[in-house]
Amino acid sequence: MIIYIYPDNTNETKKIIAIVKQRGFLVLTEENKDRVNFLQHSTEEKDSWNKVQGVILEGSHLEAKLGYLTAYAIAKNKPILYLIQKGNSLDEQLKYLEQEKDNFKIKYYSLKSLEKVITHFLRVNLQGRKIEKAKIKFTLRLTATLEQFLIFKAKQQKTTKAKLVRKFLEKLMGEDKAYSAE
């Protein structure tokens, strides 16, 4: 799952990014969005928002782009966690919006409570949602030996060959530290 986090250049947001990555999520930021390879696809129209499953915004310092990202993420029906460090004020319009929109949550945090707040959001708002569907067609040529193995394992695990290959890939992706660091 991919989480978009903005901004990405403050001490607070660097902590947020670290927490989200530790929970096994892939993180998309302003800094890496142009080079992140898991967003690139040749068959679909490029719209990074379609790949993002959730959004975390750190709104302790007011700026216009936060308003834009909030509005856009709501329009795209993405779960949004809007974080404000305790002691900072919140735009009145955002408070009102939280009452209206189920997918928009505002949380005040301290450095002590930050990890708990984020973990709760990831567990409750994201992992309960629909799993990403496999929609990209990919042709793979196999040797006869490999095909025999795939048929054998699919039968053994009572699944399809395609699902099995996807499972192998997801496992590899989760274990790849270099990929997660991107």
Partner: protein, 336 residues
Amino acid sequence: MNLPKKKIALFFCGGTTLDANNIRESTIFQEKDIKKWLSQFKEINILANIDAFFIYAGPATDISPSIWLKLAAEIKKRENAYQGFAVTSDVKSLLYTANALSFLLLGFSRPIIFTGSQIPFEWKNLPSIKNILKDKETDLGLKANLINALQLACLERNEVMIAFGTKVIRSVLAQRTGFLSLNIFDSLNRQAVLGNVDLGIKLETPRLIRGLNFKRQEAIKIALSCNIRFIKYYPGINEKIFQDQQNLFILELGDFTNIPDFIKNYAQGLTYPLLVWQPKKDVFTVAKTDLKNNIIVFDNITKESLIVKAMWVLGQTDKPAMIRKLLLENLAGELG
């Protein structure tokens, strides 16, 4: 403390459907629907202080110069009251309306951003659109597009632009290139794609400096003439079409590479120059402008822009020499 917000005027000119699964309830069909519509789209209030105005909501085929003139006048009179303007439109007429505003409001000091929903007016009577939408990952409603348009309207960039999908395009050079997909507008002219939307809006092409050659800015009229005839050439075309001296003719050559001699002969006798639309093609040679014989060939302009520009020019003057001059000038960036 609140986020700083600009004051933006939002005009409804069709293309307002927010939700493809609930067209009737999420579309503005008349002025009194605006309040209910705004209550379904409260997130736009984070972006700006928005005032909404109704212009038109019928089928795209009924859009006419009278609507464009009304829209231009309403925007013009609010030029100093708002920092930017956004306009929704049915996508079928969007290019014409955006081009009309580009010429009618030459020298306008604020951004004007066009966008719309891809859900046509006619679908409101369909019992279900599930079959049409079943394979579509793209959201055909207005929300994401309008958020981008409103954000662009807050920028200090006085141009008429189209914000659609992930692209921001100069309206006078935009073309329709897709249907029921994320990006349905594009431009062959790379300079006309002003920027992209991808987790934020990034404008890369410099602002257009308009009106440098147009010395009559103080005399611009918010006026259009409908004495235009657009004709697509085909073998056996009736020559009598060109006998009407009241009209300014635009001839589309299509795949034909030369202007037929009989048309050239007629052109000499026309009051207004004969405009020939022949978009550039790599393989074929194109017909050439021949002012002595009253022919102007356009190979670097979109069809919508040429038609609307011709309407606008005829609305400014009926003097053939001035008409020719204005047609040849690059007034709004329309000549590529």
